[in-house]
């Protein structure tokens, strides 16, 4: 990206002044190096988002931002319904509530080395992954409605997981305001065989080792120590969420044409939050969030069974579950007053600081765990949200942080550069066991196709968005 058109506000904060149709400025949180590596389209998309009605504060991009469609991936924008604010299906994306959850396993590095191969095989056998894989759970119409209304709480009530998991999930495992009736029959059909499946692309289940503790006090509060083994799951709302996005983007494009709304990009089609379409989308999106939370809860139960088969008595307790493609109603302090805003995070993680209502008791004193996925061959990170009393909401991108490394190379470039079999072998020599049905998928997801996640996390911390707590190294990776 050409940095000449940006104002450097702080070392890790760059401002795009509001010009032309922009209602607010743009803000990109990044190091100079990360910014130079970003595509110019990121700045273009940040400007476009800044022109949407009712936007508050600024249009933000996180340090892992990259060229998306409509919104940049890594984009954050908050809208005030009292000022004609809007909701955009493109501002949430296709994989609604895609996210990461991390569980303690109670094991240490030494324990894991003894069972690594059978555990990899057991997990690969237990969790359906990849294109065309199907789950064994097929919901009736009534159960589908219950799942869409209840999320992870529904899954727990049906035997997948434990009640004590729920406080460690955003929204306590159940998104309020979900409207199952706003989810189309097509979306339900796409989910028919996909409950409890991982999907493909960048989704994974990993067994990881805490390689380094980066903040002793926060790590202790999160129950993490060097050499501990954790398990992380990265996936989303599967076919149902994809179809909800498809359905409502189309309806918003139709409405834009009917109302004569000028859009800088059709992908940015929106509906007023306080409108029939806006309400329907928010309800359907809430139901898709519940689908994602239920899906990660079921996969957790499948993985717990696999652990138990290899290590009888293994206890996996949930550290936290975050979502990074959402639009949620939140209270933020802006211009000296509390305001109810609808915060879009597209490829960005909520990062609530200490004291925030909604965090479980054990985490309220330290802030929310922010789970950042890396690649099969690099690190993942656990961060903690920053305290809100350090400034107003918009100073922290409305309590948001990065979500991952972000692609540096397209899938096509990756398959031309790497061979899946070689990637698996090379990772094995580095101590990472990869199990996947797709060698081409592995080539597309080769670690070298992604940006340096450590640089992204460093910039996130130095921009004041979150604090780094622990660095994780993959040991077993199940890829879709």
């Amino acid at each position: 990206m050409d940095t000449m058109r940006l104002e450097r506000v702080r070392e890790f904060e760059w401002r795009i002044p509001a010009t032309g149709p922009m209602r607010v400025p743009g803000v990109i949180f990044a190091s100079e190096q990360l910014l130079r590596e970003m595509d110019d389209n990121v700045a273009h998309q940040v400007r476009n988002v800044a022109s949407l009605p009712g936007i508050v504060g600024a249009s933000y991009a996180m340090p892992d931002a990259h060229w998306g469609y409509g919104f940049p991936i890594g984009g954050v924008a908050a809208f005030d319904p009292a000022e004609g604010g809007v909701v955009s299906a493109g501002g949430v994306g296709f994989d609604i509530s895609c996210g990461v959850r991390t569980l303690h396993t109670g094991l240490t590095r030494g324990d894991l080395q003894r069972v690594k191969a059978p555990l990899a095989q057991a997990l690969y056998g237990a969790v359906p992954a990849g294109v065309g894989s199907t789950g064994t759970i097929h919901l009736s119409a009534h159960e589908m409605d219950a799942m869409l209304a209840g999320g992870a709480a529904w899954a727990v009530s049906r035997g997948w997981g434990r009640r004590e998991d729920l406080p460690h999930i955003e929204e306590h495992g159940s998104m309020a305001g979900a409207l199952p009736e706003a989810v189309s029959e097509q979306a339900r059909k796409r989910q028919r065989n996909e409950m409890g499946t991982l999907g493909s692309g960048n989704h994974y289940l990993e067994v990881q080792e805490v390689e380094a503790v980066l903040d002793r006090d926060l790590a202790a509060a999160f129950g993490l120590h060097q050499g501990d083994v954790v398990m992380s799951i990265h996936c989303g709302s599967r076919g149902l969420g994809h179809q909800v996005a498809t359905d409502y983007q189309r309806r918003m494009v139709n409405e834009a044409a009917r109302e004569g709304r000028a859009l800088p990009d059709r992908e940015l089609a929106w509906a007023p939050i306080e409108s029939e379409l806006g309400t329907a989308y928010l309800g359907a999106m809430g139901a898709a969030i519940n689908c994602a939370l239920a899906n990660r809860q079921i996969i957790t139960a499948l993985a717990r069974d696999a652990f138990d088969a290899v290590i009888p008595g293994a206890q996996l307790s949930l550290l936290y579950d975050v979502s990074h493609n959402t639009c949620k109603r939140e209270t933020h302090r802006v211009d000296g007053r509390e305001r109810e805003l609808y915060v879009h995070r597209k490829g960005a993680t909520r990062a609530w600081g200490a004291g925030r209502e909604g965090l479980p008791e054990g985490l309220k004193a330290v802030g929310q765990p922010v789970l950042i996925g890396g690649t099969m061959g690099t690190h993942s990170y656990i961060l903690a949200g920053n305290s809100q009393d350090e400034g107003e909401g918009e100073a922290h991108g409305f309590s948001s942080a990065c979500h991952g490394a972000g692609r540096a190379m397209s899938r096509r470039q990756a398959t031309r550069t790497w061979n899946g079999r070689d990637v698996v072998k090379e990772l094995e020599t580095r101590g990472v066991l990869v199990r996947s049905p797709s060698l081409k998928g592995i080539a597309e997801e080769a670690p070298g196709a992604y940006k340096d996640v450590s640089a992204v996390v460093d910039a996130t911390q130095r921009a004041g968005l979150a604090r780094a707590v622990a660095r994780l190294r993959p040991v077993v990776c199940i890829k879709g």
């Binding site: 595509d39 389209n41 990259h66 060229w67 998306g68 469609y69 409509g70 991936i73 493109g90 994306g93 296709f94 994989d95 990849g130 294109v131 065309g132 894989s133 199907t134 097509q186 059909k189 796409r190 028919r192 065989n193 999907g199 493909s200 692309g201 076919g239 994809h242 179809q243 996005a245 498809t246 983007q249 189309r250 494009v253 044409a257 990009d265 059709r266 992908e267 089609a269 972000g406 692609r407 190379m409 397209s410 899938r411 096509r412 398959t415 049905p437 797709s438 060698l439 081409k440 998928g441 597309e444």
Partner: protein
């Protein structure tokens, strides 16, 4: 020039493009480019037929609807398609998609497609007078 498909660059997702001497042909080729995101279309046995209907006020929206309809059929039927015959009459599209159920060992599917976006969306003629239909799809 022959009818053909290709992928075009997008950093995180994939652009699909169909080029042909007719609008319907460009839509057929764009759908083959979509299949090629998942697996090699030449390796798909075009045995089972699925009929698809769409309707949209302009050719660009019709392309998005067409690609999304193919994505939907792939997802709910667990199929990949290796052949398409498209008829376009004004705002209406009728098509026959031919394919088979996904076999992981044989098709080695790389990634599932979530949906077609409005990014990079273009339908029109190129300098050589051929029809081009393209969009970015989310994977």
């Amino acid at each position: 020039m022959t009818n053909r498909w290709e992928h075009f660059h997008h950093q995180s997702d994939i652009g699909v493009r169909g080029i042909a001497d007719t609008l319907a042909g460009a839509f057929e080729q764009a759908a083959l480019a979509l299949t090629a995101v998942v697996t090699d279309p030449a390796g798909v046995t075009a045995g089972e037929e699925v009929i698809i209907h769409c309707e949209a006020p302009d050719p660009e929206l019709l392309l998005v609807d067409w690609l999304n309809a193919v994505i939907y059929e792939m997802a709910v039927r667990g199929m990949v398609f290796g052949g398409f015959t498209v008829h376009i009459d004004g705002q209406r599209l009728t098509a026959e998609a031919r394919g088979e159920g996904v076999e992981v060992a044989r098709h080695a599917p790389a990634v599932e497609v979530k949906g077609a976006t409005y990014s990079g969306l273009q339908v029109g003629r190129n300098e050589a007078g051929e029809w081009v239909a393209q969009a970015v799809v989310d994977v």
